[in-house]
């Protein structure tokens, strides 16, 4: 590739100061084995406070974050799964779950704590491609 001058990213409407950008949070980790899921949720709430357009995608082990009935008392971690139900209060209502990831883990939509849109991987790829900003957790 050309090693001289990097080409600039073309300016778009979303680059204007104060513009609302489409954020997509890509969640691919199970909730308690690592800190990714909890940290991701924190950043989602911060982003929403700045009046940005926020969508969440759950795929791979990320779908485990949404499973109903989590009880973390005995592992002394915070059960943050109820927070997903509060996202609606922050005007975050675009929650996408990848169908293939659910099915390969023996899960179904009714196993989840919150209303989501279950979509195939092909559709999720397109949504990611349409975002202004992708943040991975």
């Amino acid at each position: 590739m050309d090693q001289s001058e990097p080409a600039a990213i073309p300016a778009t409407d979303s680059d204007r100061p104060g513009a609302i950008r489409k954020f997509m949070f890509v969640n691919r980790k199970a909730p308690y084995g690592t800190v990714y899921a909890l940290e991701g949720l924190e950043v989602v709430l911060i982003t929403a406070a700045f009046d940005q357009e926020v969508a969440l995608a759950f795929l791979d082990d990320g779908v485990y974050q949404l499973v109903k009935g989590q009880n973390t008392k005995a592992i002394e971690s915070k059960n943050f799964s109820p927070a997903y139900r509060a996202l609606d209060d922050y005007d975050i209502d675009r929650l996408y779950v990848e169908r293939e990831s659910l099915e390969s883990r023996g899960l179904a939509e009714e196993d989840l704590v919150v209303a989501v849109k279950v979509i195939p991987a092909s559709e999720l790829s397109k949504l990611m491609d349409e975002a202004d900003v992708l943040l991975s957790f």
């Binding site: 590739m1 990213i9 980790k29 975002a131 992708l134 957790f137």
Partner: protein
């Protein structure tokens, strides 16, 4: 869009997930243990070769060299240095890291 994979394809699903979501015209950069996917004879090599048709593939050369994998690099995968890494990020408005 630029996809970055930093995990070995035989240890984690990151590489497989990346290939399942990459669209024609996108670029994929393999770094750290992700570089093993671009080596001849690896279990991931066949899938990678198939993806080469409509996706640009890059690999971070310092990570290949560190692992003694430079000679095993699959044809069609472009090695880049750190500056090339920065250029790729600058050239693509969206970056997805398959952590």
């Amino acid at each position: 869009m630029l996809h970055i994979v930093n995990k070995s394809p035989t240890e984690r699903s990151a590489f497989a997930s990346c290939l399942a979501h990459v669209l024609p015209g996108h670029a994929v950069l393999l770094i750290e243990d992700g570089v093993y996917a671009a080596t001849r004879g690896s279990a991931a090599a066949e899938r990678l070769t198939a993806a080469l048709r409509d996706v640009k593939l890059y690999v971070l050369a310092p990570d290949l060299e560190a692992r003694a994998m430079s000679k095993a690099l699959l044809e069609g995968v472009v090695p880049v240095d750190y500056r090339g890494f920065v250029d790729l990020v600058v050239q693509h408005p969206r970056v997805q890291s398959w952590l």
